[in-house]
């Protein structure tokens, strides 16, 4: 069984992303001496947490062959909403529940546009992104909120032993998402939907429910990310989630999850998210000018995806070869 899972891992796309990550890791530790310190690793993980959490939910959506461009804005909206509620004295647990419900509602809205109205998810979620970002501006009234209750900010800044709590949350989210996608029938429904929606329908997969669940999962993880982001910053402003939108997509795709759906998974996403975080960390440590940073990120995205596409094709031809053999 162990051998089998190693073989499976090698076969999966995340294997190549893993090699990419390992390569970047080795290079980083060679050229930046501060990279491989406990503190820095913790820093990288801490910074990657929000991206990681966002990507777990998005992975579910992309696995169905859809796209969710609204995750960044959704996390921003939930963060803003929570901050406003906390400011007006609503107790923390209630705020959590409202935040998660808001995330779920955004997910349901996306699911409705994609599953019922049948808009292409790309444009539907972009529309949602636009509206949700607009709502954050309205909620915040353009302001920035500071000074949230300590019990709340501890989520973002607190430690359990030497490990920041936020990393633990991210880890839990990753495990939950992994189990959901890989070890449950629900996860298989998502893969089935993404591999071939019609076949899923004919195989009695509840396809609407699956699609909605994927978007809700994405909405809820965005909500959790939003809450943690706000807690970590001890502040909320209406644009704080914007930058995460496309970055999250990049993390998932760099991790080897196919944009056509049905292929990939959480393992790759974790690798992708950490890879992107490490690159920014290393560039900061090296003092690379901020103007050049997008270029490096862009090149890394292109190289990883090109490599992924190449390896996929190579795998296809080798499999074709042995299936000829077996005939």
């Amino acid at each position: 069984m162990m051998k089998n899972s190693i073989k499976n891992f090698k076969r999966s796309q995340s294997f190549y992303s893993f090699i990419g990550l390992a390569l970047v890791f080795v290079i980083a530790s060679l050229i930046v001496k501060e990279f491989l310190t406990f503190n820095n690793i913790i820093t990288v993980l801490r910074q990657g947490s929000v991206l990681l959490i966002l990507s777990t939910g998005l992975t579910a959506v992309i696995l169905t062959g859809n796209m969710d461009l609204s995750v960044g804005a959704a996390s921003g909206l939930v963060g803003c909403l929570c901050a406003q509620l906390l400011k007006s004295g609503v107790p923390i647990p209630v705020v959590f529940v409202i935040g998660l419900i808001t995330g779920a509602i955004i997910g349901i809205f996306n699911g409705f546009l994609v599953g019922i109205v049948k808009l292409p998810s790309f444009i539907a979620t972009y529309g949602t992104n636009w509206v949700v970002a607009g709502l954050s501006i309205i909620i915040m009234n353009g302001d920035i909120i500071y000074g949230l209750p300590e019990g709340f900010t501890w989520l973002g800044t607190g430690y359990v032993g030497p490990i920041p709590f936020i990393i633990i949350v991210a880890l839990i989210m990753v495990i939950v998402a992994y189990v959901m996608l890989q070890k449950t029938t629900f996860g298989r429904d998502i893969y089935a939907y993404g591999s071939n929606k019609d076949a899923a329908l004919y195989s009695a997969v509840p396809i609407k429910k699956t699609l909605f669940s994927a978007f809700i999962m994405s909405g809820v993880t965005a909500a959790i990310a939003g809450i943690l982001m706000t807690a970590r910053l001890d502040a909320a402003d209406s644009t704080m989630g914007d930058a995460y939108g496309l970055q999250t997509v990049a993390a998932v795709v760099v991790g080897g999850t196919s944009m056509l759906g049905g292929e990939g998974g959480i393992t790759g996403t974790v690798i992708g998210a950490i890879l992107l975080t490490i690159i920014v960390n290393v560039m900061n440590l090296l003092g690379i000018t901020s103007f050049a940073q997008p270029m490096v990120v862009g090149i890394v995205i292109l190289v990883m995806v090109l490599f992924d596409s190449y390896s996929r094709r190579r795998q296809n031809t080798t499999v074709k070869k042995d299936s000829k053999k077996s005939n």
Binding site: S195, N196, A200, K324
Partner: protein, 504 residues
């Protein structure tokens, strides 16, 4: 007339580890239809592709007349007048008929821009020569029927002024009437002196159209025979290489109790009208009809894909309302659907997950799944059905049609549904696999499962069914027990002609 226009000598094509073609000789005369048959993987498509220039053989020569040629690409072959009509349509949905026929070879006007007028006129004249002038050349091909699209595809091939045409399974998606009109056109083409290579699985087609048959097996040529000199059984022997005493074997079986009943069932689009049928335990019921008669729509209606428009549906005596596949499968009904590649399988996904697609929830009612157990279950079914795959992790797209269909069967067997709808269960698969599927159906019936089989291949319906409903234009046009009606009688009912006015 009738001189040999194409000859291949000793064509050998190797893929790593396998000889796809082993020293194959083949010849084609002008004005003949030469049929190429063989099981999947026998090399017939490979041979066609070598002739079309898509594959370059390792050994062997191709002669056009007396001239030796070697094709490196399809363009080389095209320039020598060899064109293909593919099974999967190569039309572009939102370009019109004329644009599709002259795609990438559009006539230009003096400004170097596309001359739409000339293009449309040329397209019209080609369609006219095919007796298809009812097709409007200005319509996007998306809105045409499948048969019309096929004609456009042939017109496109003809626009190259070919000497040799290769048809690769052209009838797979056509109804019987459409097949007939296609054959009429092929005959016309043949008369005009074209040489035609026709790759097909369907044995009953050959007689209508072909002159000679070349049978391939395992990359080797078994023989070329005149069509009139050989009967079905001999042909099957040549293809499969073993003696098959009976293609359609049915065991003695008793039926008991009704498991499925529809009462005046209709859909919302008027494709299915007032259909009342019953299915008993242990029974195989065939539904015969032309493509477009509403058979597949009926299946979709019963399976809960489309909403019920009127009438009632009972499964095991229980009325089903607001049906959905999820609900229907819970009631124990499964469906092997018509379009294996689009609806039956997730081609990119592995044999394992395709096998488990329906049954996962019944094996793991507690949500969490165990990979080890899944592996065991899937491997078990793969072995049981003799699916030819090195392991269950192989993606389905790499399997042959017959093996893919076996995976679809495995999916429903593992789900242990006791009522099955089989929609065109043997379409596009080779004889060997076909017989295995028939045997499986028989076994299921003996085990007390019930099967509703939809097919446009009459011999199959007649050979396998205990009872047959004949559908025409969305309605049930007739019903008969096993052996009650002849193929011709059923055929005329399918066409909407009453049994008494049968034109035999």
């Amino acid at each position: 007339m009738n001189e040999t226009i194409l000859t291949t000598r000793g064509i050998t094509k190797e893929f790593p580890g396998v000889k796809a073609l082993d020293s194959v000789d083949f010849d084609l005369r002008s004005g003949e239809v030469h049929i190429l048959v063989g099981e999947n993987g026998a090399g017939k498509s490979t041979l066609a592709k070598v002739i079309l220039g898509a594959y370059v053989p390792e050994e062997g020569e191709i002669y056009l007349g007396n001239e030796k040629v070697s094709f490196k690409t399809t363009r080389d072959a095209l320039s020598r007048g060899i064109v293909a009509v593919y099974q999967e349509f190569t039309l572009i949905p939102y370009l019109n008929v004329a644009q599709n026929i002259f795609f990438n070879r559009e006539p230009r006007n003096k400004f170097g821009l596309i001359d739409h007028k000339k293009m449309e006129e040329d397209a019209k004249s080609i369609l006219q020569s095919l007796n298809c002038d009812y097709i409007n050349v200005k319509l996007p091909t998306k809105v045409l029927s499948v048969a019309e699209q096929q004609m456009v595809e042939i017109a496109k091939a003809l626009s190259f002024n070919p000497k040799i045409m290769v048809f690769d399974e052209p009838t797979a998606t056509l109804s019987e009437r459409e097949v007939e009109s296609l054959f009429e056109r092929i005959r016309k083409l043949k008369e005009s002196g074209l040489g035609i290579i026709y790759v097909s699985h369907r044995m009953q087609e050959f007689k209508h159209i072909g002159e000679r048959i070349t049978v391939l097996r395992d990359g080797k040529k078994i023989g070329t025979v005149n069509i009139d000199d050989v009967n079905d059984k001999e042909l099957v022997n040549m293809m499969v290489g073993r003696d098959i005493s009976q293609v359609y074997h049915r065991s003695e079986n008793k039926f008991s109790g009704e498991v499925l009943r529809t009462e005046r069932l209709s859909d919302k689009n008027g494709k299915v009208k007032d259909v009342s049928i019953t299915l008993n335990k242990g029974e195989i019921v065939g539904i015969a009809g032309l493509v477009g008669a509403g058979r597949t729509e009926l299946a979709r209606l019963i399976f809960g894909i489309d909403p019920i428009g009127g009438g009632k549906l009972f499964i095991k005596g229980k009325e089903i309302k607001d049906s959905s596949p999820v609900k229907i499968v819970k009631e124990g009904l499964g469906m092997v659907c018509e379009d294996r590649k689009r609806q039956g399988l997730a081609l990119n996904d592995s044999v394992l997950w395709n096998t488990m697609a329906v049954s996962l929830k019944s094996f793991f009612p507690k949500v969490l799944i165990s990979r080890k157990k899944i592996f065991e279950i899937a491997t078990d079914y793969v072995k049981q059905l003799r699916v030819a795959t090195p392991d269950v992790y192989r993606a389905c797209k790499y399997l042959s049609g017959g093996n893919q269909q076996k995976v679809v069967l495995a999916k429903w067997l593992s789900a242990k549904t006791d009522i099955m709808i089989f929609d065109e269960p043997t379409r596009g698969i080779d004889v060997g696999a076909k017989m295995e599927i028939y045997a499986m159906m028989d076994k299921l019936a003996v085990e007390g499962k019930s099967i509703l089989m939809i097919s446009s291949e009459l011999p199959e319906v007649i050979g396998m069914s205990d009872r047959i409903y004949i559908m025409h234009n969305g309605r049930i046009a007739g019903e008969c027990k096993r052996g009650e009606l002849t193929a011709d009688e059923i055929g005329s009912k399918m066409l909407g002609i009453g049994g008494d006015t049968c034109e035999c």
